[in-house]
């Protein structure tokens, strides 16, 4: 209230600058005021119940964030106001010393550097109550109201700070509570029913009466309520018995009666101690734990050769070495021996087998050859036998054939002869040539005779007929044609007869034939037979039936 916003802002900036320097020299900050959150309101971290106000000795990290936030906010230059959440979360336990010079001028108490009437007047009561440090007289009495005013005047965000204060207990320790000004009745009631607790969303700007211009009605009501409470309290206090008033001219003074005077002060001697570690250092390695030496130190001396006797010590080693060596080598030798034996016997066996196989093959070959030889011999033998058989058969056959055909030849010859194949050529010739001719001649002769006879008969007949005719007719017919035919006929016959080689025989024959003129049938028959004979002869001269022809001719000769 007293400080204008501009000044507050400048102060804030100063603080911010200082803060930046503070960041560098964080170590020597024990006495410095806490890092100002520039936009943070003066407020007391009143209520220790408030979880958002962590205990005073926080690490730098928190400060740094706050510083950063503050710096950022400072840089913005805007009306320092903090987002309620950030403020709420990051508010240092100590209220930020906004205006240290101012505060310093006022009171040396480190706790009382709060500039309660700063420009940043947003007081967001995030805690239960903002309990003011009443011991300080410099505090304006209407702090609460100022606070509330500020609250009401704050434009946008919530902030709340309160001084750390002792937890109020319900019972008053001292009888006299008149010195205590009427406090604001502290109703530690349920947070749910605390009017300061903001209901609803906190992210939206509350344009309601809490942040904006509060309703005057609201204010009045609050004031009246407060007045009423105060009055009630005072009335109660009046009733309580108190020490009587001082006598005239005297004054009640508090006096210590103990042996040693004790300074009574409200102020609690506090010393800020800070400690800081390097930023982000690794945890150093734990130092080696060397236990403390316990016990007694005792010394002794060992002479050479006492502790260690080589021969004794080496014995087990040697035993193992030699024993194992021998054992192992024995085993190995046995194994190798066995293997070599196996292999040798294997090879021997193979050798044997090979040789035997060679032998077997040889024998097989031999056997095969023998077989072949045998086969060949057998075949040969068989052929020989076969041939022998054949030969004997042939011989037998030949003999038989010979015997069988022994008669054949004579019979053949005989039959041939019989058939006339073997002929005397002269005879044949005679037969073939002469006889037919002869027969022909004979036939001819006979025919002549026949003809003659026939003619004669014809003549006779004619004559007879004529004579008959003549007889019938008379006797004037002729004798002239007869004598012509008669000589003609016999003349022919004689001619023919003369032509023939055997005229006499033929003549005789014809004569005989003529003489047998009675036998007309016979003559015709002869004629026919002679004709037949002629035909036959003509045929048989050339044909095969010469035999029959000959026989016929012979037969006929005999007949004739």
């Amino acid at each position: 209230m007293t400080v204008k916003p501009a000044k507050a802002a400048s102060l804030a900036r100063n603080l911010a600058k200082r803060r930046r320097s503070y960041l560098g020299g964080a170590a020597g900050r024990s006495q410095e005021p806490e890092v100002p959150c520039a936009a943070v309101l003066p407020g007391k971290p009143g209520d220790r119940n408030c979880p958002e106000f962590p205990p005073p000795d926080r690490t730098l990290g928190c400060w740094a964030t706050d510083a950063a936030a503050a710096a950022g906010l400072c840089g913005a230059g805007s009306e320092p106001s903090i987002a309620p959440t950030s403020c709420a979360g990051n508010l240092p336990s100590r209220p930020p010393p906004l205006l240290s010079p101012l505060l310093a001028s006022r009171n040396p108490c480190p706790w009382h550097y709060l500039h309660l009437c700063g420009s940043h007047n947003t007081l967001a009561p995030t805690c239960f109550k903002a309990k003011l440090h009443r011991k300080r007289g410099s505090q304006p009495p209407d702090m609460a109201s100022a606070l509330t005013d500020r609250t009401s005047r704050a434009p946008s965000t919530y902030t709340y700070t309160s001084r750390p204060r002792a937890l109020p207990c319900q019972r008053s320790r001292y009888r006299d509570s008149l010195t205590q000004p009427g406090e604001e009745p502290m109703h530690y009631g349920n947070i749910m029913y605390d009017r300061r607790v903001i209901r609803g969303n906190t992210y939206a700007l509350q344009t309601g009466p809490l942040l904006g211009q509060p309703d005057s009605l609201e204010l009045q009501r609050r004031r009246e309520a407060r007045k009423r409470a105060l009055a009630r309290k005072q009335a109660q206090e009046q009733l309580r018995p108190q020490t009587p008033e001082a006598v005239e001219g005297r004054k009640h003074v508090d006096v210590q009666t103990e042996l040693y005077l004790e300074e009574i002060a409200d102020r609690i001697i506090e010393v800020d101690m800070e400690c800081q570690t390097d930023a982000f250092l690794d945890r150093p390695p734990t130092p080696l734990f060397i236990p403390a030496k316990t016990g007694k130190d005792v010394a002794t001396q060992i002479l050479e050769g006492e502790l260690f006797d080589f021969d004794l010590e080496v014995k087990p080693v040697l035993e193992v070495l030699v024993g194992k060596t021998i054992e192992q080598s024995l085993l190995e030798v046995m194994e190798e021996e066995e293997l070599a034996n196996l292999r040798a016997s294997q090879r021997e066996y193979e050798e044997l087998r090979n040789s035997e196989r060679a032998e077997v093959q040889r024998l097989e070959e031999q056997e095969r050859r023998h077989q072949e030889e045998k086969e060949r011999r057998k075949k040969q033998q068989w052929e020989i036998v076969h041939k022998h058989n054949e030969t004997s058969q042939k011989i037998a056959a030949r003999a038989f054939a010979q015997r069988y055909l022994a008669d054949l030849l004579p019979s053949v010859f005989g039959s041939l002869r019989d058939s006339g194949y073997f002929y005397d050529p002269i005879e044949r010739d005679i037969e073939i040539g002469f006889l037919p001719w002869l027969m022909n001649e004979v036939e001819k002769t006979m025919e002549y005779s026949m003809v003659g006879r026939t003619v004669l008969d014809m003549l006779i007949r004619e004559v007879v007929e004529r004579r008959l005719c003549m007889y019938e007719h008379g006797e004037d017919t002729h004798q002239s044609p007869e004598p012509e035919d008669e000589p003609g006929g016999p003349g022919a016959m004689t001619e023919s007869l003369e032509a023939s080689e055997f005229p006499e025989q033929s003549m005789s024959q014809t004569r005989e034939l003529l003489l047998d003129g009675d036998y007309l049938q016979r003559t015709t028959y002869d004629r026919r037979s002679s004709q037949e004979r002629k035909f036959m002869e003509e045929r048989e001269l050339l044909g095969q039936d010469e035999e029959t022809a000959m026989r016929k001719s012979l037969g006929e000769e005999e007949l004739s």
Binding site: E313, V317, E332, V333, E337, A344, E350
Partner: protein, 230 residues
């Protein structure tokens, strides 16, 4: 690291790290070789080891046959050891050979006897000595050659012991020459016949099976099994 002057506990005893290995190898060699005089043989072993020579160790364990001093104690294994030690050089110093002979704890008399078969001064052709040794092992020429094959061969144990035919024929001739029973003609004819046998098969190598016909164990086995089967 020398022993510290004062040792206080058994843990300070320092064992060289190579020691166990050396000991083991030594022990194994000793077990395999079964020398009659371990000390003598160990001296030979370590001196050969230090020189870097082949060690007088048998490759396969052989039960020692020597019981008396008169018995040569010379076994195929021992000959093989000697061969392993000596065969790099063609000629062997007698003294050296004697030393090796002693290291194997073989009787000295036998050594002398062996040398008497084919006397020579300071040096002896190793192959000759080997042949003599083999002849000592076996009774007949054939058995001697069998041992020789088995000693000289590169093939693994039990396998067909192949050695070059040249070596074989050389040794055969040498031994036959020493042996008065066998005439040179027989030798040559035998060798010629063997050569024909192997000419087709192997690359100039002759194996045991070509000249040495062991008992047919297989038949025995078959007989045995048949007996068992009944």
């Amino acid at each position: 690291m020398p022993l510290p002057d004062t040792m206080f506990c058994a843990q300070q005893i320092h064992i060289p790290p190579e020691l166990p290995d050396i000991l083991k190898q030594f022990t194994k060699a000793a077990i395999r070789t079964q020398p009659a005089d371990v000390l003598q043989w160990s001296a030979g072993y370590f001196s050969a080891l230090s020189r870097g020579d082949p060690l007088p160790v048998k490759d396969r364990m052989e039960m020692p046959t020597a019981t008396q001093k008169t018995d040569t104690g010379l076994t195929q294994g021992l000959l093989k050891v000697l061969h392993k030690q000596c065969h790099q050089k063609r000629y062997v110093e007698l003294t050296d050979l004697e030393q090796k002979w002693k290291n194997l704890c073989l009787p000295k008399e036998k050594f002398k006897a062996l040398l008497q078969l084919d006397p020579c001064e300071n040096k002896i052709k190793w192959i000759n000595f080997l042949a003599l040794g083999c002849s000592m092992l076996g009774g007949s020429l054939n058995t001697a050659l069998k041992h020789l094959c088995e000693i000289l061969t590169d093939d693994p144990d039990g396998g067909p012991a192949h050695i070059p035919f040249k070596t074989f024929s050389y040794v055969y001739r040498y031994l036959a020459r020493l042996d008065s029973d066998v005439s040179p003609l027989e030798t040559e004819s035998y060798l010629a016949s063997l050569k024909e046998n192997i000419a087709a098969k192997k690359n100039g190598m002759i194996g045991l099976s070509d000249f040495f016909f062991p008992k047919r164990k297989l038949l025995e086995n078959i007989e045995n099994s048949e007996d068992v089967g009944h």
